[in-house]
Symmetry: C2
Subunit: 530 residues, 2 copies
């Protein structure tokens, strides 16, 4: 099965993934949880409804979009409440409706989105763009204000495909899976496969600078975008006359990563590539994470680059291989996954193998590679049953320059272990590299421990400590998850007050009444609208 | 001789290039000029001095930087007057001092630049950052205001070189040639070789999104920059904790291309690569420009990419090969230059040759390749003797998506031919592609005709027509020359009024008194300071 064959998943609010394909915890995992002191938590609570919009506001929206494209029932609104971070899921289980939208609207075109924003700005009505809804950083959860969720699922077209230029114009609401299916019909692929692939959408990829599992071969989403159209309360912005330009700052890059705070991206023009004719994934073993890091750096700096390149640390390798030594810290070396897609993969594979072998790697064959490939979107499915059992599971990520990575990894791990151990719940911390560049790479951490009685507060302490460690060790606060509300203050610290003020000034021009995703990205005490 | 062996040229004001290496026009060229109706123009006029700064302002600057780092003599100021576009050179020949700086200062560090900007902002004293001074788009020529040129040549250090991450921190005043020499001592190269290489500097590369002749292999300068430091009247901005990040919009991209209007970039962290061990350049022949375009698109989209990839059209090929048919429009097909640097160039060369041969290309051997390589920085040297003879010579460039390129080329050419023929000076218009991407490429035009009595007005008409054609045919107004004053209105049209307003808001935050490069990039009627 290839990516374009995957169905568009119907996500369940508060639980990740397609309920048609649940994942049960393996017995060994249940056994391991006992060692962490995990106990089953209280049963989930039902959401309690909250007041919605005024009749006047509802009438205005109905007039704009039609009654059938405006929903105010509890089920729909609850289904558009926040994203899929572990705190989000825990709040869902607690029936917390404090950040539930007052209504959900479904515009069908750029013009409808544009008209909606104009009206909402006039009415000072906050709006939250909702595409895949898969944020894991609180990107859909404005605090302290009634808001409308703008569900973009009806912007679902492949508008244009230019085979000469190899570009496709895709509307913002097209899900990742649907985009691949639409492009596959014409013989193309986007090549963007984040772990949220089954749920996330084109608009969300753009708004949050998403990066997929094949980034070594296909690049990040922000590198794929060559043009975009954004509706703002002040009007429409269209950018991208050429792949690259020296016409002033690249303002596309000001829209990418703006997380719905400057406007709603309604379509993007993306670079596409022919569907790969060959594909192979293989496992490699290195004696240690540090040894593996040197090996993948060789590929990132001197090439050739495979399409997928990932390196797990000792602990993650042990978990992935279901090694019973895991609770003792792991011992059996580390595993890398190296994947090839495209033409002539055999040649590249031989070249890559020579580099990895010279760097001390040992080829483990296609078995581990195919195992990873088949399970590549399944990991998040495990989180819900783990939460059911009383485990706390969450991920966080960063990136830095190669020379900073070892210390960055060590300091973030230590911060997490200390913060959670102090709360009586010593964690397992796993780490991998999944995105490489010539000058550096990402680090992705998975944390597992027992829940305390207040797991949201428990995680907040751990996350605050991890953020501080990232900042102190010189990493960026997020490589591909985005800022949302969770990284707001760390982000402000990372770019500094002048840059935040500049961003705030841009927001004030495009969104003078501050209706767009209030409190996201830009710290609220600096937000001109607050 | 390799790039790092080239000396730092001492440019002469008003004439391009190192006077130690003048280039004479070949006799055939002189003959050809007669066909264009060229007559020798009037002799250059001497510049007439203008009032400088007030004594109070001079004392302030002297106190900040020391008397030896403040120059007010006519020769120094005249030597910092505007850049190297043909209108700039013509104004120089006319002795026009209307855009001459009132003083030139030479800060030596980021802190001195920062203190200077703080003081100048308090004093409402306009400043123009001057690094290499090689702008060809009026990027150094604010109109209607007294200003100080801030010459950055004393910011000339390689501050740090991180061999693990392969990054180098270079100060803004380091010339291209000096940067290569500094890096070569350590075994590295930046790989950035614009035609202005002998004169341009690191800060200018960054401020204008420069792209070099080896962009197919090394990327554009904005792709090389992973971090930067900028002094602004409000304080310092430092960006770039990691190669890539999802922490909000990539604000590095807001600084790159800002052309000195938001602050003065004082240093950048750039990606570096090991010095190439092998190098080869070869010529290829195609039946037509359109055929060649398909061939180089194959390489850009499916690889492998050589380090240098250029394709001349029929007219440029004829001129380059000194083909007597040139005045009849050329006929002997077109030439491409394909260059390889790095390791294992032989393998890539074979692969590239297979692609080009399949696309109808014929290999012409290393002769044409080496001829191009040896002369790669010499073309601009020819402009001065051509102007001396009474020819008008200028270049302009754009970029677009592959499917738009044929029409873009045709319409720009037609606009130039029409606008100049209407003035009684039918031109020769040459074109080449020198920067390729998966989704599109650049087009670079060279125009040669006889000067009228008012060549500045003559060119303005032609340039206005070309700009309109670029806009109508869907190209970007500049691929690598920048906006300056020459492309200001076309740029505003390209990105639209809302984007300009956003940029203006950013400027207002960082430069509230509008002292930085006034009138550059942002149209003056929208400039908050005007």
């Amino acid at each position: 099965m290839t990516e374009s064959d995957l169905p568009v998943a119907q996500l369940t609010p508060g639980r990740w993934g397609d309920p048609a394909h649940p994942v049960a915890l393996p017995p060994a995992a249940l056994e391991a949880l006992k060692h962490l002191g995990v106990r089953r938590p209280a049963e989930p609570a039902a959401p309690v409804d909250r007041p919605g919009l005024s009749n006047e506001a509802l009438q205005l929206l109905e007039k704009l979009l039609g009654a059938e494209h405006l929903k105010t029932d509890l089920e729909t609104r609850w289904g558009h409440t926040r994203g899929y971070s572990t705190p989000d899921l825990l709040r869902h289980r607690a029936g917390d409706t404090t950040d539930m939208p007052a209504a959900v609207v479904y515009p069908a075109s750029h013009d409808e989105v544009q008209a909606l924003l104009t009206t909402c700005s006039e009415q000072h009505l906050a709006v939250v763009p909702y595409a895949g809804g898969t944020s894991v950083v609180g990107g859909l959860a404005p605090q302290g204000t009634a808001f409308i969720a703008v569900d973009l699922r009806r912007l679902e077209r492949l508008v244009e495909l230019d085979e000469i230029s190899r570009t496709a114009t895709l509307e913002a609401g097209v899900r990742g899976t649907a985009a691949e299916a639409l492009l596959a019909e014409r013989g193309y692929t986007l090549g963007h496969f984040p772990q949220s692939y089954e749920g996330a959408s084109i608009g969300g990829y753009a708004a949050t600078r998403s990066s997929g599992q094949s980034s070594a071969g296909y690049g990040r989403f922000d590198q794929m975008v060559v043009g975009l159209t954004m509706a703002t309360p002040r009007g429409t912005i269209e950018l991208g006359k050429a792949p690259m330009s020296a016409a002033g700052p690249d303002l596309r890059q000001l829209v990418l990563g703006s997380e719905g705070t400057l406007g709603i991206i309604t379509s993007v023009v993306v670079r596409i590539r022919p569907r790969p004719v060959e594909r192979s994934f293989e496992g490699w073993r290195f004696g240690s994470f540090d040894e593996g890091l040197v090996a993948i750096r060789r590929l990132a700096q001197d090439g050739p680059l495979p399409t997928v390149l990932r390196l797990s640390d000792e602990a993650e390798t042990a978990i992935n291989l279901a090694d019973p030594d895991v609770l003792a810290g792991g011992s059996g070396g580390v595993q890398a996954i190296v994947g090839f897609e495209g033409e002539r993969t055999g040649v590249r594979r031989t070249e890559v193998a020579a580099v990895l072998t010279a760097a001390g790697g040992e080829e483990m064959g296609e078995g581990p590679g195919e195992t990873w490939r088949e399970g590549r979107y399944r990991a998040p499915y495990l989180r819900d049953p783990l939460l059911d059992e009383g485990a706390l599971v969450e991920t966080l990520e960063t990136a830095g320059f190669w020379s900073a990575l070892p210390q960055l990894k060590a300091q973030v791990t230590e911060a997490l272990v200390t913060a959670l151990t102090e709360q009586g719940t010593p964690p397992i911390v796993l780490c991998h590299v999944s995105h490489v560049y010539e000058t550096g790479a990402s680090l992705y951490f998975t944390v597992i421990c027992a829940q305390t009685d207040d797991p949201i507060a428990q995680w907040r302490k751990a996350k605050t400590a991890a953020n501080a460690a990232i900042s102190a060790a010189g990493g960026t606060i997020t490589h591909h998850h985005g800022v949302g509300t969770d990284h707001r203050s760390a982000y402000a610290e990372e770019v500094g007050p002048l840059a935040i003020e500049a961003l705030q000034a841009v927001k004030h021009v495009l969104d003078p009444n501050g209706i767009l995703n209030p409190g996201i990205l830009i710290p609220p005490d600096l937000d001109p609208a607050s």
